[in-house]
Amino acid sequence: MDHAIVADGLIKRFGDTTALAGVDLAVRQGTVLGLLGPNGAGKTTAVRVLATLLRPDGGRATVGGYDVVTQSHQVRQLVGLTGQYASVDETLTGAENLLLIGRLLGMPRRRAKHRARELLAEFDLAGAADRAVKGYSGGMRRRLDLAASLVGRPPLLFLDEPTTGLDPRARSELWELVRRLVAGGVTVLLTTQYLDEADALADEIVVIDHGRVIATGTPQELKAKTGSSSLAVRPADSDQLPTVVSVVGELAGMAAEVSGDLVSAPVSDPQVLPAAVRRLDQAGVVVAELALRRSSLDEVFLTLTGHPAEDADATERSPE
């Protein structure tokens, strides 16, 4: 089997809201697919459909070759789910939570206990094993959530915004755990609103906005697709900023962006750098910095959706 997860035209409506308007995606076995989009884009709905928690209104999807609607029980045996809505029990201890899941998966008591201890040690939670989860820090809580989804050693892992709200250290620790799992052969579907997270972890990225896939590709392809790089110029004398803005804008064929005294614009023609040097020289601009940078995923996102990822994040989080 080549593709571990396939979705074909998934549609899901909630009343008048269309959360998924025909989502297609395919995840090759043993790889990480990053489902990238702002809050409210439909990422979580897509994961919930694929994890059999929601029934799609249209389209179909298979996970591990099993249909998520008609063979949901098989799908649930293959998938480990980690998301803020699929939570562990806060009143139980970390060990009890993992033991509970092991028992529910049909493990004999001793094996379930052993597996719980093993996971707690692996996720650096051994010291907190017998404390109620209520008292865990955000990072510990997220590691336990991840551990909980791994009790049955599932070959597929759905991580729905696994690092939202985590501090940078906890975040990179979680990334490391995900990389280790992938190295062990697990197929991962990861949703995130952080572009750097998709860039760091995903082999392939699907960008969705308003329930639609608006771009698909490897992080490199996506960057190349949307103006492969960005031309950045910093004049030595900030009085010359207007001249630089007009030169860069002309070369890029679109309005240049100014942040501080750095002028930048997305460009696709590699010949632009020598041209920029010539034109700036002709205009008598003394350049402090001149660079052709590969564009970041943030810029990609802006180009694709027409709105920056961070803005969307801020506006669409508030109603929740």
Partner: protein, 277 residues
């Protein structure tokens, strides 16, 4: 031994097509165990549903007892079987509260994402509640006995009464399930309890005989399942003169009520739950 706990490739997996009923039952019991562990971690919850009934028994016996029945011991004997019924109804609310907490905190989704029987999470909740239920029945009876309540029939009669109470509690739990599914947060489940269960239990023959009430109210008291159940318990625990008439008829009425409540609220709850998640 600390071998890295890593899963193997997809091709090694041969998932089963469904869960057998015995497996489902085992999963339900595992989930019931979880609820019992919760109580162990949070003993305050136990005192929540222990202190209130103890206080009620004391208040009703010593404050109202003399005025209503002429003597506190007389009143205790009359009222206690009904008090057990009332307390049983309130304890069913814990099913709703627990379910609501699971739904709002996301535990329910975690359980549904696991390959367990579809009915196991609910069944586990309700089964665990029967443990609390049994505890609260024993508690109220124990307090009553400490104050002078005596069984007038036999141990067998007492056991039959407890079984009847648990059967009705099982059916009535589905009302609590529905409330738990529909309520926005666990606190509102409690609010429902106070606004719906207090009238239901007070407009009954639990605390006073219905004779002094207006006619239209008496009509309600007579068919109120709380009265019917309280009567059956009096019959099973005390016998005459506290209960007159056919004990078999009273028990059948209780079972009929339980069946009606179950038939209405179980499908309704499952439907509401499906809509919600």
């Amino acid at each position: 031994m600390t071998a890295p706990a890593l899963p193997s490739p997809l091709t090694d997996y041969t998932p089963k097509p469904r869960v057998g009923p015995i497996e489902g039952l085992r999963q339900s019991l595992t989930l019931a165990w979880r609820t019992v562990v919760q109580v162990r971690h949070n003993p305050w919850e136990l005192s929540d549903f222990s202190i209130q009934p103890i206080m009620f028994v004391l208040l009703f016996t010593y404050v109202f007892g003399g005025a209503i029945a002429g003597s506190t011991s007389e009143y205790l004997t009359f009222m206690l079987p009904g008090m057990v019924v009332m307390n049983m109804l309130f304890v069913t609310l814990y099913v709703g509260q627990g379910l609501n907490t699971d739904l709002t905190k996301g535990v329910f989704d975690r359980l549904r994402s696991l390959p367990v029987a579809r009915w196991a999470p609910l069944a586990g909740r309700i089964a665990a509640d029967q443990v609390k239920q049994a505890w609260s029945i024993v508690l109220v009876l124990g307090v009553g006995m400490a104050l002078g309540f005596r069984i007038g029939t036999s141990v067998l009669g007492l056991l039959a009464a407890v079984v009847l109470l648990l059967v009705f509690a099982l059916a009535f739990s589905w009302v609590a399930v529905l409330v738990g599914v529909l309520a926005k947060d666990p606190e509102r489940v409690q609010i429902f309890g106070f606004t719906a269960l207090f009238p239901l239990t007070f407009v009954s023959n639990v605390f006073v005989p219905a004779e002094t009430m207006p006619g239209w109210l008496q009509a309600f008291v007579d068919i109120n399942p709380v009265s019917v159940l309280a009567d059956a318990c009096r019959g099973l625990m005390l016998g005459e003169p506290w209960f007159t008439g056919s004990l078999t008829a009273a028990i059948l009425q209780v079972l009929l009520w339980a069946a009606v409540v179950l038939a209405v609220f179980a499908p309704l709850s499952v439907w509401a739950l499906r809509r919600k998640v």
